[in-house]
Symmetry: C2
């Protein structure tokens, strides 16, 4: 136990539990403390995960000299303060996606990461799914040829369930709704696979949710090399998670059973990746190796704190994913006209 | 035989053969004559399909009093003249999709249909696939709930094979490339299922084809009721034909094996339609009844000539499908900004 990296979950809701289970499947992380404003939540969390202690205030948590880092799952609009405080206290920081609810807040975090030099990781875990890793390998090996279209969808029913007592209900806290909560994953996945998006066109609608935020979004992304990417996300249907890649030599179709999303050590067992070459009447199933995205990203974060790994998704990647969200919202306000990614990033920096 | 409706294929290429086979699977149509400028093609076609006679000129074909109608598969940019001549000669006209290569030509055809009062049908056959018919039934029965997103793709490799001796190579004859040849099908399918598209945003690219026309296209459609529709089409990959519909109660996923597209009596045997309700871990296969889109549309056309059926896809539907193509091309020229469908139709009428 003494060799493990000591991390503390901050914000002890549903997602903290999913990540804690992921961390405890690994051998690198010790959940050494935890923090929430609510004492009841702290006690319940300690009991559930066998965590020895907790801190009654965030300041006391960060003052704990035995703590190496924090795993933050507080609401998006609190990320800036919660992250920068931890960085300035000398802790490594893992924060769930999106990096922040606005690009301005993301820039403040970027500045804190640069000035403190601390380890910083953002939970764009989905790119670690075996399906996406296998697509990457096929791309790198040239098996798909040249890519023309990549199509993604991430949707579920959460928009229909939102109530006024949840922060995701509010446009000021969760701008973009399904786009910033779900779509931002594929904004990262697509850029991981095909390089930077340079511009987007989008149509963003609020159709059936009672909340303030969009529940039907379509975005067209143009990549630096001219490839087109589609990002669809809804918040008013059963769960969908998919990516299709169309190339001059072959196509790949990736489809994940969303009901197993939270159990990342199982997710790829319930996924299918199928290939299609010319003249093939039946698509072929591509074997997927086992993967565990939540465990892997927390292990990597912990090892990075010990100087034994490099964080794959840091500020730069997370800012580019969030910039797609921001640019899409601006595009929709401009009736779908193209918005440049570099432009929204520069505007936020100014 | 005497009771059959006597039709003549006009333009005797690959697609005329696909349609002739469809017509001969039925009991309503007699292929009574045929026409191409090339005598060799006429003779070969007569022999292949057991057609008693052919005409050395189009005028002679249309002067044949025993002929009830024509089945036109000439290049898109010839539709206007070939169609209007036949209508004015008193024949019923079936023309393959798109109705024309420009909305202006489509309007001239519209005028000829109205002034002659003849039977006119456009080959937007795909909406007759059992998958689309079943989706329509689920929509009408309320089994999907309210729809937020519909996503479609129709792609194949033809853009990579285009050479200068084929009309599809040229932007003046086939504006939009894959969008007007393949995407126009889903422009009709989506409007068949969800009502009129009111505006589109699009990004249209020419990436890998040596021809003059686009081979990578993404279009976002907004329907009158706010629903969003995605239309993806490429011309640089193995064949894809799919439609996903996401609703508040359930999702449907339709996927057709493009290698069987030409054999429309088999196409639905090689298709899958799968449903997804809440909490279902596995998607369920939805049984598809047998269908034969090419036969069915030609039977309907022939029966309409006899006054025993009504044409499902006439001028109005075909113009609205082509208008999505035209609006998408204009949107892309305007960097993806929204273009109204009614606006491009009014412009073409003016």
């Amino acid at each position: 136990m003494g060799d493990k990296v000591r991390l503390a979950p901050v914000g002890l809701g549903r997602w903290a539990r999913v990540l804690a289970r992921g961390a405890q499947r690994g051998e690198v992380v010790e959940l050494a403390s935890c923090y929430s404003r609510s004492e009841d939540k702290r006690k319940a969390f300690q009991e559930e995960f066998g965590i020895e202690r907790s801190a009654p205030t965030y300041e006391e948590l960060l003052a704990d000299p035995e703590l190496d880092g924090v795993v933050i799952t507080t609401p998006n609009d609190t990320h800036r303060d919660v992250v920068t405080q931890a960085l300035e206290a000398g802790k490594g920081v893992y924060v769930d996606k999106p990096i922040a609810h606005t690009l301005e807040d993301a820039m403040a975090i970027e500045e804190a990461v640069r000035s403190t030099g601390r380890v910083f990781a953002v939970g764009h875990s989905a790119r670690r799914l075996a399906g996406h890793r296998t697509i990457k390998k096929w791309l790198d090996d040239g098996k798909l040829g040249q890519i023309s279209l990549v199509e993604t969808n991430f949707s579920n029913e959460r928009g229909l369930e939102l109530t006024e007592d949840t922060w995701r209900y509010y446009a000021s806290k969760s701008p973009g709704g399904t786009l910033i909560q779900l779509g931002v994953h594929h904004a990262d996945n697509m850029q991981f696979l095909l390089g930077p998006v340079v511009s987007v066109n989008a149509n963003v609608k609020k159709l059936y949710t009672k909340s303030e935020v969009p529940d039907a979004v379509m975005v067209i992304c143009e990549f630096a090399n001219g490839i087109l990417g589609y990002l669809g996300c809804g918040w008013a249907s059963p769960g969908v998670y998919s990516m299709n890649v169309l190339g001059t030599k072959a196509n790949l179709f990736y489809d994940l059973d969303f009901t197993h999303w939270d159990e990342s050590h199982l997710a790829d067992k319930y996924s299918t990746l199928r290939s299609q070459f010319y003249g093939q009447s039946e698509r072929q199933t591509v074997e997927l190796p086992p993967s565990d995205m939540f465990r892997e990203q927390l292990d990597e974060f912990a090892l990075a704190i010990r100087g034994e790994a490099v964080v794959e998704v840091g500020v730069d990647e997370a800012v580019r994913a969030l910039a797609v969200v921001r640019a899409a919202l601006e595009s929709s306000e401009r009736k779908g006209g193209a918005v440049l990614i570099d432009e929204v990033i520069e505007e936020a920096r100014a």
